[in-house]
């Protein structure tokens, strides 16, 4: 028996840019392209990169030993999900190959295939089968799943009448009882309330403890460092780091800051002689105060800005404006609205601003920052912090709000009355 569970060699995945825009191709286009044959249906030709293609993954090689739990980190678009999709055989690689020793279970989403019209009981069977469980296996674990989900009383109610919390709990309960030899998990813990998340993490920890091989993608550095002794860091489709999780995360967060905001302090002081305070760095912290680079809509997020001062200023007023990717200011936050001036400042320190609910639609955001000292604007930054938001857990049933119609998500309820 080999002790290798997953072996990946020079794996690559090429995408055609504009796939999203051109996805509802029409027959007319196809007929037109018959006249000038350019692309084949299977996308096998046109491989030469001519600017309209990009490598979502490139030259990925690694080996994972049986029974290890590996974290995969990287920004949005780094290729994490593509890697999991290839390993779970949802999409094909363009180059290279992967060898998987053992039965694979993949969890790219909780509640895949849930049907709103079906009852909780029916959905357990349906979802279980979709995740690859045999019927006898589901029969055997049924009571355990129901107990884990805490929805006993609503077992025979259609899930469309469930609250979003119940829905997620049931979906995760099924997924958590999946027992393949190799488990591929993508960011599924980002949903549900904090208490249930803890429970799920405990369950995932058990899974890892039973000699299973787990590949775990998450933006949540806290979860990764807690569950995965080793991690892979991806950037722009390539592996940039693989090793001990704490070290990988440290290096990764450093590159995030280096890449985004290389603030040479002395430079800034020299460049702006009238500024007695400058920004030296910024980061995002999740609800456990662990560094992260993804904002989950519906969960608290803390923006941290580090500073240095000179000439001993005492108090600062901070204002932040959050812009979405269309450049629309979504919200303005100001110490004057709540806390009043922050200080005394000292030589160095940080400001933190925590958003309680983060009702933002999925997308990329930047935060502009301005610092006032004694009523005078002394430091400003067009993009002091950038982050991506995932809103899939904000409402029930994971529907994404369309960015062109939403700049924010509102908690709401529907009611129907008849005259």
């Amino acid at each position: 028996m080999s002790d290798i569970a997953i072996r990946v060699q020079e794996l690559g995945k090429l995408y055609r840019i504009g796939t999203a825009a051109a996805r509802h191709d029409t027959l007319r286009d196809a007929l037109a392209s018959l006249v000038r044959p350019s692309r084949s249906f299977s996308g096998q030709d046109n491989k030469a990169s001519n600017g309209s293609h990009f490598w979502a993954l490139k030259d990925i090689s690694f080996e994972i030993k049986r029974g290890t739990v590996i974290g995969v980190i990287g920004r949005n678009g780094a290729g994490k999900s593509t890697l999991l999709k290839i390993l779970s055989r949802i999409t094909e690689p363009t180059t290279g190959f992967a060898e998987i020793h053992g039965r694979v279970g993949s969890l790219l989403e909780v509640g895949t295939g849930f049907h709103p019209e079906l009852t909780g009981r029916e959905n357990i069977y349906l979802n279980g089968a979709i995740l690859g469980m045999k019927r006898v296996e589901i029969d055997r674990k049924f009571d355990e799943i129901v107990a884990f989900s805490e929805i006993e009383r609503f077992l025979d109610t259609p899930v469309k009448r469930y609250s979003s919390g119940m829905y997620v709990r049931l979906a995760f309960a099924v997924a958590a009882h999946l027992e393949p030899e190799i488990l591929l998990v993508d960011e599924v813990l980002a949903v549900g309330d904090a208490a249930f998340q803890k429970k799920c993490m405990g369950k995932m920890g058990d899974v890892a403890g039973h000699g299973r091989t787990v590949l775990f993608v998450s933006h949540n550095m806290g979860v990764i460092s807690q569950m995965c002794p080793q991690s892979i860091a991806l950037r722009e489709g390539r592996i940039v780091d693989f090793g001990d999780t704490r070290e990988v995360i440290n290096r990764y967060l450093k590159t995030l800051q280096d890449g985004n905001r290389a603030y040479a302090i002395e430079d800034r002081f020299a460049r702006y002689p009238d500024r007695d305070i400058v920004l030296t760095g910024s980061s995002l912290l999740d609800q456990d105060q662990e560094p992260t680079d993804l904002v989950i809509a519906g969960q608290p997020i803390t923006m941290e800005f580090e500073y240095r001062t000179r000439n001993n200023p005492q108090y600062a007023e901070i204002s932040l404006t959050i812009f979405n990717q269309l450049g629309i200011p979504v919200s303005h936050l100001n110490t004057a609205m709540l806390a009043g001036p922050l200080g005394p400042l000292g030589e160095r320190g940080h400001f933190r601003c925590t958003l309680e609910d983060t009702p933002l639609p999925s997308g990329s955001y930047r935060v502009a920052l301005a610092v006032h000292l004694h009523g005078r604007r002394v430091e400003e930054h067009e993009s002091a912090l950038e982050f991506d938001v995932d809103d899939s857990g904000f409402f029930a049933h994971q529907s994404h709000a369309a960015l062109q119609y939403s700049t924010m998500l509102l908690r709401h309820a529907w009611l129907h009355g008849k005259a």
Partner: protein, 303 residues
């Protein structure tokens, strides 16, 4: 799961990568993932492995179909009866279309029985991959199961209408002959035909949403090109072979032959024509399967 002998092999050879990976073939299923080239055909092993999922997909389809409807499964009975009544008035009474020795209502019903099944199965299967996009992009399983489950789930409605038909046979006092035993064969042909076209259309629909608009239109036109509510004798003899280029002609004529018995209607096409229908259905099915299997790799990327 892991046999004792395999463990020993591991102990002995764990330092030698070549040997140990060879040994792993014995114990653990190895999946190799690599870019595929050329055309693909059916992977029966994977299909067998996921057979329970097929069952659940069919089960879901059936379970969900008449949820939150007041009449529920009565719709299955009402639909063919209503269309039979309308066609009886239009063709049987007003146009006085020939129906052999069989009363026109029964003649029309015998045609509508497989036709309604076909039109349901084809419409459902052609949109099936797109409507199940959430599964396609999140889970691996043989994609062929999606259109196949649509084709199978239509059988429930078919069986219910068949029971209604049996009641009508009794009312019209028609005794079936031994030919009725061959009915399942023609049903199989109907399934094969709808699956064949369903495979083509569902794979095309992933890229070209035109199919969503095209499929109902095709089905509507197709019905009039098929002797569903009229007999083949309406068509001049020298053009009749054109009808048999349509695999559904074989199905419908076969149904009438099996239900009413040989020789009862003079409308039935010659066996050679039926054989041609079957041949075309087989060609559509196998080419559809290859087309579907070859394009399915890109489904998750473009659906």
């Amino acid at each position: 799961m892991i046999e004792q002998t395999g463990m020993i092999t591991e102990e002995a050879s764990s330092d030698e990568p070549a040997l140990s990976s060879f040994a792993s073939l014995v114990d653990i299923p190895v999946t190799v993932i690599e870019p595929s080239r050329g055309l693909s055909f059916i992977d029966l092993q994977a299909f067998w492995h996921y057979r329970e999922l097929l069952y659940f997909l069919v089960w879901r389809d059936i379970k969900v179909r008449y949820k939150q409807t007041a009449l529920g499964v009565i719709w299955v009975i009402l639909q063919p009866l209503a269309s039979m009544a309308i066609f009886t008035i239009l063709f049987g009474v007003l146009l006085d279309a020939p129906s052999g020795e069989v009363p026109y209502p029964l003649f029309a019903f015998a045609g509508l029985l497989p036709w309604n099944y076909f039109s349901f199965a084809l419409t459902r299967s052609s949109t099936s991959v797109v409507t199940n996009a959430n599964l396609v992009t999140k889970i691996y399983f043989p994609r062929v199961m999606i259109p196949l489950s649509a084709v199978i789930s239509g059988l429930v409605d078919f069986v219910v209408s068949l029971l209604v038909f049996v009641v009508m046979m009794v009312l019209f006092a028609i005794t079936p002959t031994w030919a009725i035993l061959l009915l399942p064969l023609f049903l199989l042909l109907a399934m094969l035909t709808s699956l064949g076209f369903g495979l083509w259309l569902s794979a095309l629909n992933v890229r070209y949403r035109d199919i969503n608009h095209l499929a109902p239109f095709i089905v509507q036109i197709w019905m009039y090109l098929t002797p569903v509510v009229y007999a083949t004798t309406l068509i001049p003899e020298r053009f009749r072979f054109l009808l048999s280029l349509n695999p559904m002609t074989g199905v419908i004529e076969g149904f009438r032959w099996a239900l009413f018995g040989p020789g009862v209607t003079d409308t039935v096409l010659a066996p050679a024509f039926v054989a041609l229908s079957v041949g075309i259905a087989l060609v559509v099915f196998f080419t559809g399967l290859v087309f579907f299997r070859t394009t399915e790799k890109t489904f998750a990327d473009i659906v």
